[in-house]
């Protein structure tokens, strides 16, 4: 018999709150108590919540910037290659590299690549699509898409201990506390 079967590992402990204020203060307290592997869940974006769990900087802007640079340079490069190298055509005596005319497709491709890189980058950074997640086992958790706020301290955290973490979470005065199975 393996150890895992003796004491089934859980994903974490989930505390439920009624207001965004309670959630943010609970997350701050958990961070102050030394927990790091945790996440706050809410039905709409709360800037303070990501600050409270120690997630300060999104990498999405960098991805959008790189996408824009890639799109702009490939857009201009494409037109340069077509008009100057692949098939140079004399149109009304204009120079092969009529760059002012190339600005519009360059601009549009900058926007296109920046936007698409941003969208795919955001989903990739968030690990989505992820149809299965342990939290979906919790019946209460469905309310996160409606009007309830949740803080989950994960069992993977080095400070996590079922008994003491449970006691700590009770001190945060949540509506409910539940164990989330894997």
């Amino acid at each position: 018999m393996s150890h895992a079967q003796l004491s089934p590992p859980i994903y974490g402990l989930l505390a439920e709150f009624d207001t965004p204020t309670d959630l943010v203060y609970a997350a701050k307290a958990a961070y102050a108590a030394g927990y790091r592997k945790m996440d706050a869940y809410s039905p709409f974006p709360i800037e303070e919540a990501s600050e409270a769990i120690g997630f300060h900087k999104s990498r999405v802007p960098l991805i959008v910037l790189l996408g824009g640079i890639l799109g702009g340079s490939s857009g201009f490069g494409l037109q340069y290659w077509i008009n100057c190298i692949s098939y140079p055509l004399n149109i009304g005596g204009k120079p092969y590299l009529s760059w002012p005319a190339f600005i519009i497709p360059t601009f549009e491709l900058t926007i296109l690549f920046a936007g698409l890189c941003g969208v795919f980058g955001m989903f990739a950074l968030n690990g989505l699509p992820m149809p299965y997640h342990p939290l979906f086992h919790s019946e209460r958790f469905a309310m996160v898409t409606r009007d309830k706020f949740f803080l989950c301290v994960e069992a993977a955290d080095s400070k996590f201990d079922l008994v003491t973490t449970h006691q700590f979470m009770e001190s945060l005065d949540p509506l409910t506390i539940s164990e989330v199975p894997h």
Binding site: P45, I46, E47, A52, I104, P105, I111, T145
Partner: protein
């Protein structure tokens, strides 16, 4: 400077005194969710909705028939003939794509300007953009004569070894419109993902749960996800703003780069963009007024939204009026015989009736929006919006037809009369648009649920 409550997120509202509220009082996170989601999930299919869909699908059938016949016979079934080779197809293209612009303005520009009242109208305004761009995009394809060769417009290594002409505004148009359609679609979808998660949890039917679940991609409202999400949302708004301005600018280049009198003018880009927003807001009101009434959404789409939209129409309408005035002024000030003749021909020529209708519909009638009493009546707003939509269509008719039918050489003058197939395709796209809108409000939350939650006073994190 008015001091509002401290702003917490990009989605929160800062009201001014004496303004109607952005949401009627008494709403909670739960009630907002239920009001919007139940309109899709539990509300039975009503006769009104069926009737609307019936009208839309009838016109859609007309479109199918007209396009089939067009593919069989060719563009000769339309009234276009040299010198007026553009006709209805391009009029409708410009009209539809202009209507789409208000959706992007509402979702992107008003987000950047922190006009949070936009939160309850951005979702269906974005849907309106998508469907309008779909209608618009059809026309250049149908107008090509050989629409099955449309892919020649894209730069791909073909066996012919030739490439699109990148010095031509028509190729710029391909890039501008296809980028616009793509970015509008992803912006709309990204905005829907958290709401699809709500629908996934609220839906009763197992198949509906599966479909909403797939579309939600497993969204679970994590603070890390929201942080990345908001960063992206703001950046998409930031790049969609110059994009939307560029699209109608490029559309106006289709005209302004040509040397036809009445087209070759530098005022076209700003005046086209203003006209686009003008007609787009008119379409927003034409859609919003019946939807809020029929679905009982007066608590979420309040008079503040309608009045603000009316004010934007008034402002953009005045920019358009300035455009008309300067077009006329420059025609005479330029000293060019051809420009002067073009203007006189617009005023007194064979199509003068449409020019004066356009002045009446686009400039004179909308001036009643100056009166707060008129702005407070939904019936008036609805009728004025319809008038503006007709007026903006006439504007494109006047620009295209009166400029083309009499240019430099009297020997090449002509006359343009649309045929029944022109009308069939035009009203057919109205059917496509109507059908898409009716299906959309039936299967997706027509108002952004999570952005409405963020507008509630309870959404603020208070000091403990």
């Amino acid at each position: 400077m008015q001091q509002g409550p401290e702003e917490k997120t990009i989605l929160q509202d800062v009201p001014w005194p004496d303004e109607p509220p952005v949401m009627l009082p008494g709403q909670t996170f739960g009630s907002v969710t239920d009001t919007i989601a139940d309109a899709v999930l539990t509300r039975p299919i009503g006769l009104g909705w069926l009737f609307g869909l019936f009208i839309g699908m009838t016109l859609l059938g007309v479109l199918m028939a007209a396009v089939t016949y067009l593919f069989l016979i060719g563009v000769g079934i339309w009234g276009i003939e040299v010198p007026v080779a553009w006709g209805f197809a391009i009029i409708n293209f410009v009209w539809w794509i202009g209507i789409g612009h208000a959706g992007t303005l509402i979702s992107a520009i008003l987000l950047l300007l922190k006009q949070t009242w936009r939160n309850s109208i951005n979702r269906f305004a974005e849907a309106m953009t998508l469907f309008a761009v779909a209608c618009a995009g059809m026309f250049p394809l149908l107008h090509m004569g050989r629409p099955w060769l449309a892919y020649w417009m894209f730069p791909y290594p073909s066996s012919m070894g030739v490439w699109p002409q990148f010095r031509s505004p028509l190729v710029w148009d391909v890039f501008a419109v296809s980028t616009y359609a793509t970015i509008s679609a992803v912006f709309w979808y990204v905005g829907l993902v958290p709401d699809f998660a709500t629908m996934r949890e609220k839906a009763q039917h197992p198949i509906a749960r599966k479909i909403y679940g797939l579309l939600a991609m497993g969204w679970r409202g994590s603070a890390r996800h929201w942080k990345n999400y908001e960063a992206l949302y703001l950046l998409l708004a930031g790049i969609a703003t110059p994009l939307v301005l560029s699209v109608h600018t490029v559309v106006s280049f289709d005209f302004a780069v040509a040397i036809v009198p009445g087209w070759h003018t530098t005022i076209f880009p700003p005046y086209f963009v203003a006209g686009a927003i003008y007609s787009g807001f008119a379409m927003v009101l034409v859609l919003a007024i019946p939807i809020r009434k029929y679905y009982g959404l007066e608590g979420l789409i309040t008079m503040r939204h309608l009045q603000n939209s009316a004010k934007i129409m008034l402002a953009t309408g005045l920019i358009v009026a300035y455009g008309y005035a300067f077009e006329a002024f420059i025609a005479f000030y330029s000293g060019s015989t051809y420009e002067r003749f073009m203007m006189q021909n617009r005023w007194f020529g064979p199509y003068a009736f449409f020019y004066w209708c356009l002045i009446l519909f686009n400039i004179l009638i909308p001036q009643v929006l100056w009166f707060p009493k008129i702005r407070a009546k939904t019936g008036w707003l609805f009728c004025i919006s319809l008038v503006i939509l007709v007026g903006m269509w006439l504007e494109r008719f006047v620009i295209i037809v009166t400029s083309l039918h009499r240019d430099y050489l009297p020997s090449s003058w002509g006359h343009y009369t649309p045929t029944r197939w022109d009308y069939a395709v035009f009203f057919g796209t109205i059917g496509l648009f109507t059908t898409a809108i009716f299906i959309f409000i039936r299967i997706m939350p027509a108002i952004s649920i999570f952005e409405m939650r963020a507008l509630l006073p309870e959404a603020e994190v208070k000091a403990k």
